[in-house]
Each structure stands twice: as structure tokens, then as C-alpha cells.
């Protein structure tokens, strides 16, 4: 399953009460090691409730000082945010994520009393998705269009992030709707491998305001279109 699949699903408690749409996923870096990255990111909780716009812009965070009217408005609006711990989840369905119990009104962080996230915590939508990927030589290598999750065999264990997924195949899901599926169809017909490109999270070196890889981009098999345009068109022009 892909991480962005969570975004937009509603969280519904045992009694059927709708707690809001998921607009981000909190990750904590306490999973089994992957490649040279070290401990992998695992899902800690799902962030939901209230309109998504301010959260996406990061306006609800304390470290953002201004502009004052925007931060004031969005902090008020996002006072209703809840963070649902992974162990509260009963099932993940097409449109909703169902919780195993009924949530008392006003409960801010259900299920996380015994497990406050410590260490490296990242909000996937805010800090990973749509970030620029840069390879070891400082060259651009695409965007983080989505993240691939690997579920553990143990039932209560949260899944961990194993790969960055990129390309029109992944982007089409993010865009969604008819436009998204049209893009996905066209790409499927045109591309040699219809499945989107994957970069193992094991070769990620660092996460900053962009994602740094430990390998050069040509080793990753993601430059198909670029290579095609270069060999067929651009290199034919003198001075390239």
C-alpha cells in the first residue's frame, strides 16, 4: 500500500462517528534497518480533523511565526486536530479507516499515552511528500510522489516506509479524479514499464528541505524519459 492512500480517508470510530479526514501521517524512525539509511520510518499516528489546507502549508506549527493573521486563523481552525495512534486502527477500507473503539469527545491523541513519539519524528505529508529528490552528485532526481509501505507480519505492528515511489504512475494517484486516472492510463500505454519507479529508502542519505540520496541518479533507473529526450532530440542539436 502507498502512504498517500491514507490521505483523504475519513477516520470513523466504533460507533460510526466521523472524526475527520486524514491529512497527514506521522512517522517515527524506530523500524528495522533498511539499506544504508539505518532505522526505517514507521507509521506512528494518523493526523486528522479540520480542513486540510492550513496543515499542508504547515501554518499550524509553533515554529512558524507569521504572518500573524494567517497563523492565528489556522491555529484556531486546527485546534480540532487529532492524532490517532496506529494501535487504535481496526481496519483500513476503501473510503474510511475504522477504529477499534469509541472515542470520547475531546480526545486529542487516542491511544498514544503509552507511546509518545520520541526521536526522529516526521510528518510525511509535510516533510516527505512532494519534496525534491537530489542525488549524491547534487543533481535533480524527481519528486517524492508517494511512499511505499511494507506491512509487518505481526498484526499490531505499524508498517514501515520502504521506498520512494515516483513518476506519472504515482503522481496520477495523488492528483486523483478523472484527470489522475487519465494520466495513469496514458502513461501506462506509453511507458515501457507501466509501474511507477521506485527508489529504495535504503539509499536515502538525509532528509532536509529536500531528500538526499547516496547514489547517482543514473544508477536508479528513473531517467527513462530524460534519456529518451536526450538521445532522440536534444543531443541532435549542436552545442548540447
Amino acid at each position: 500500500m502507498r502512504l498517500a492512500g491514507f490521505l483523504g480517508k475519513s477516520i470513523v470510530d466504533r460507533s460510526g462517528r466521523d472524526l475527520g479526514a486524514i491529512h497527514d501521517v506521522r512517522l517515527v524512525r524506530d523500524g528495522p534497518a533498511i539499506g544504508s539509511f539505518g532505522a526505517s520510518y514507521r507509521i506512528h499516528s494518523l493526523i486528522a480533523g479540520g480542513p486540510s489546507i492550513g496543515v499542508r502549508l504547515g501554518l499550524h506549527r509553533e515554529e512558524l511565526r507569521g504572518p500573524w493573521p494567517l497563523t492565528a486563523i489556522f491555529r484556531r481552525v486546527h485546534a480540532g486536530i487529532i492524532a490517532v495512534h496506529w494501535n487504535q486502527i481496526w481496519s483500513i477500507e476503501e473510503e474510511v479507516v475504522r477504529l477499534r473503539s469509541v472515542l470520547p469527545a475531546g480526545e486529542r491523541e487516542p491511544g498514544s499515552d503509552d507511546d509518545r513519539p520520541t526521536g526522529d519524528v516526521v510528518e510525511a505529508g509535510l516533510q516527505l511528500l512532494d519534496r525534491q529528490i537530489i542525488d549524491v552528485d547534487g543533481r535533480m532526481a524527481g519528486k517524492v510522489d508517494d511512499l511505499d509501505l511494507e506491512f509487518s507480519d505481526e498484526p499490531r505492528m505499524p508498517p514501515r516506509v520502504v521506498a520512494i515511489v515516483m513518476g506519472p504512475g504515482a503522481l496520477s494517484n495523488r492528483i486523483g479524479g478523472r484527470l489522475g486516472s487519465w494520466i495513469g492510463d496514458v502513461y501506462g500505454r506509453v511507458a515501457e514499464e507501466p509501474s511507477p519507479a521506485e527508489i529504495s529508502f535504503g539509499i536515502v542519505k538525509r532528509i532536509d528541505n529536500h531528500v538526499e540520496l547516496a547514489l547517482p541518479r543514473d544508477d536508479l533507473g528513473i531517467m527513462g524519459l530524460e534519456d529518451w529526450v536526450r538521445t532522440r532530440l536534444i543531443s541532435k542539436i549542436p552545442g548540447s
Partner: protein
């Protein structure tokens, strides 16, 4: 010393590169119809672009992330795609207007139909992008654009009633012969001409192209705080020239030839020759910027390698987008659509689209994750937020105004 020289060149480049076909058309048309009563909009527009460019330059210098990268990252793939489509289309219209403008200048100088010049202009733009280094390209055409200062010299030679000009400027509001909706429509056009989105895409991508770091923040501020307002003064000189030469005679500035009349009357042939070179350079500079911006926006949204700081073969998709945009603009101009009308549409629609680019930049310039300790100061945020509100109002009002006034008829 070297730093001082670098700053000096940067200011001159920003100064000379400020005016493009949009500013020329907007200021001349406004001066001819409304005198100086819309001069205040130019002031607002210049402050806006200074604010906006400084923020995006700062973000790019410290984080290495240019505008459209930030837009996608902040707004998410879906909303940013809508933003990309709108920005790309308006940028495309602007590129076509600039290429049309180049052809008009060449027609004015040679009396050969502008359509013949269009393909040459487009090819020239592409060749310069392909061959010249970023820095050289920017400086050569930006600094040559300084020749447009001839409009100010011509104005001075015309010996206008300065008191009258200033008093006109100090009393906003339509003159007796015009109505408020048309007045406001031209206000929107002037704002869109001064605060063009491509300027910001280019400026912030340019900061990455030239590998700016926090040590270059001073250069960024100097270029922007000094260069752009000086460019704004040129805009006002064009407006005043039209107010002094065209307005009293009832001449409206519908053609480039009419826009050049104040210089012809004030300085004669020499002035005209200088004006031709200045106009050509300034518009050429804008054409380069818009063509590159077409590539920057798409590549930065999709994460492709972009930029002139690598060899073309290392950024093939980016160069393909630039090439296709130039060819398509060429096609649009060759449909014989009036380049002046095309310019009018591009500046007005630019004004409507400003919040799309402006809002994410305002947010990110406050985010320590991007700019470390160089977050916006309180005063910057106050003015920044005021502009956000203004731009939203302008954006909402644009289409109704366009329809109501029949695009400023």
C-alpha cells in the same frame, strides 16, 4: 571591491530589465487616457514586486529551493498542478506578447511587416538561451535595457508642467472623461504589468542558477530594493511622456508607433534610435525570462533537472519544454492576433493569477525549515499580508472588470 562591483552590476541589470512590453503598453495607454492619475498603482506594484522578489530570492539562496519547487511542496501535488497549468498558460501568453513586441520594434525601425520579423525574433531568443551563459545573458540584455532611460530624458526635454503632473498623480480617480470601472481595469493592468509572475519564477530560479548562498543576501536585497524602484521610475517616465504628448491631442496609445511619439517629439532621431535599442533589449530580456520560466515551472513541479547551470544534454526535458514553448508562442503570434491586444490580456490575467504564486512564498519565507533564522521580519509580514489581501481582491475583481469594461474599451 569586487563585491561592490557585483552589486552595482546587479542593480543595473534589475533596473534595465524591469520594463517589458507589458509595462510599455500599460504605462503608455494609461498615460494617454488617464494622465498621471494612476501613477500610484505603479508605486504599489513596485513595492509589491520588491517584496515578492526579495522573499523568493532569500528562500532560494538559503534553501536552494526555487519558487515552483516550493509551490508543489506546500500546496500538494493536486492544487499545485492547477497552479502550474494556470501559471504556465499565462506565462505562455506573456512569452508570445514579448515575441510580438520584439517584432513590432523591428517593424517600427524598418517598415517591414512585423510578421516577417516574428520567426527571426523567436529563433534569436532560443539561440541566446541555448548558447549564452545565464549570467552573461542576463547582464547583456538587462544593462542594454538601461537605454530606455531615454524616455526620461525626452520627458525632461519636453519641458512639461511638472506641477501639473505631480498634482495629477496626487489625486487618484478617473478624469472627467472616464468612468470608474475603466479606471480600475487599467489599475489592474498596471499592477499586473509591474508584478509579473515570470519575474519571480526567473528571479528565484536565477538565484539557484548562480549558486547564491546566504552570503549573497546583500546582493539580493540591493538588486531588488534599488534596481526595481529605478525601473519603476522608467515606467512612470513612459506614463508621463504619454500624458504630456498624447493626452492633450486626444491620441490613445494603441500602437507601438504612438508609444514612441513622446521620444520622437522630445529628442528626435537620436532619441528614437536609442529608444529602439533600449526597447529591443528590455523586451528581449523579458522574452528570455519568460521562455526559461516556462521550463522552470514545469521542471520544478515534476522534479526534473532544470537550469542553464548544467549542459543542455543534462537537462534535456527542461530544454525541450523551453523550445516547445517558444515554437508555440511563435505560432500564436503568427495567427496575426494584435500583439498589443495580446499584451493587454497577458498583463491582466497575470494580475488575476498573482495570489497563486505569492501565497506559498509568503508562507515559506516565514518557515525556519527553509530560511533558517532569516525569517520575515514583523514589518515585512505586515506589508506582506496586506499585499496578500490586496492581490486576492484584485484577483476576484479582474474577470468581472474585463467583462464589464470589454477589456478596457
Amino acid at each position: 571591491m569586487k563585491k561592490f562591483f557585483e552589486i552595482f552590476l546587479g542593480i543595473l541589470t534589475a533596473f534595465g530589465g524591469f520594463v517589458d512590453i507589458g509595462d510599455l503598453v500599460a504605462n503608455a495607454e494609461t498615460g494617454a487616457r488617464f494622465g498621471m492619475s494612476l501613477a500610484w498603482v505603479v508605486v504599489i506594484g513596485v513595492i509589491g514586486i520588491v517584496l515578492f522578489a526579495e522573499m523568493s530570492g532569500r528562500v532560494a539562496a538559503i534553501s536552494g529551493r526555487p519558487v515552483f519547487d516550493v509551490i508543489r511542496e506546500r500546496l500538494g501535488a493536486r492544487v499545485a498542478l492547477a497552479d502550474l497549468v494556470a501559471s504556465f498558460l499565462i506565462n505562455f501568453l506573456t512569452l508570445a506578447a514579448e515575441i510580438g513586441g520584439l517584432a513590432l520594434v523591428l517593424q517600427l525601425a524598418t517598415d517591414l511587416n512585423y510578421l516577417l520579423w516574428v520567426p527571426l525574433a523567436a529563433v534569436a531568443v532560443w539561440i541566446v538561451i541555448w548558447k549564452l551563459s545565464f549570467s552573461l545573458m542576463e547582464k547583456i540584455f538587462g544593462i542594454t535595457g538601461l537605454l530606455l532611460v531615454v524616455t526620461a530624458v525626452a520627458l525632461w526635454r519636453l519641458d512639461p508642467d511638472w506641477g501639473r503632473l505631480l498634482s495629477d498623480a496626487a489625486h487618484p480617480g478617473p478624469p472627467a472623461t472616464e468612468k470608474w470601472p475603466t479606471y480600475l481595469f487599467f489599475a489592474v493592468a498596471l499592477l499586473g504589468a509591474a508584478m509579473t509572475p515570470y519575474e519571480v519564477f526567473f528571479f528565484s530560479s536565477g538565484a539557484v542558477e548562480e549558486h547564491w548562498t546566504r552570503r549573497d543576501l546583500m546582493v539580493n536585497r540591493a538588486n531588488v530594493y534599488l534596481g526595481f524602484p529605478l525601473g519603476g521610475l522608467l515606467s512612470l517616465a513612459i506614463m508621463a511622456g504619454a500624458a504630456v504628448v498624447l493626452r492633450p491631442r486626444g491620441i490613445s496609445a494603441d500602437h507601438l508607433s504612438q508609444m514612441a511619439l513622446p521620444v520622437a517629439v522630445g529628442l528626435g532621431k537620436v532619441g528614437l534610435a536609442i529608444l529602439y535599442v533600449g526597447m529591443f533589449a528590455a523586451i528581449f530580456s523579458a522574452a528570455l525570462e519568460t521562455a526559461l520560466s516556462a521550463g522552470y515551472t514545469v521542471a520544478q513541479y515534476l522534479g526534473w533537472q532544470w537550469g542553464k547551470y548544467v549542459r543542455p544534454r543534462e537537462a534535456s526535458r527542461f530544454h525541450l519544454v523551453v523550445l516547445v514553448s517558444i515554437v508555440a508562442s511563435l505560432g500564436l503570434v503568427l495567427t496575426t492576433i494584435d500583439p498589443i491586444k495580446l499584451t493587454e490580456y497577458s498583463i491582466v490575467l497575470s494580475a488575476a493569477a498573482l495570489p497563486l504564486t505569492y501565497f506559498p512564498i509568503l508562507v515559506v519565507a516565514n518557515d525556519p525549515q527553509y530560511v533558517d533564522e532569516y525569517v520575515n521580519s514583523r514589518p515585512t509580514n505586515v506589508v506582506g499580508f496586506a499585499y496578500l489581501v490586496l492581490l486576492l481582491v484584485v484577483s476576484i475583481a479582474t474577470i468581472p472588470l474585463m467583462i464589464w469594461t470589454r477589456v478596457g474599451a
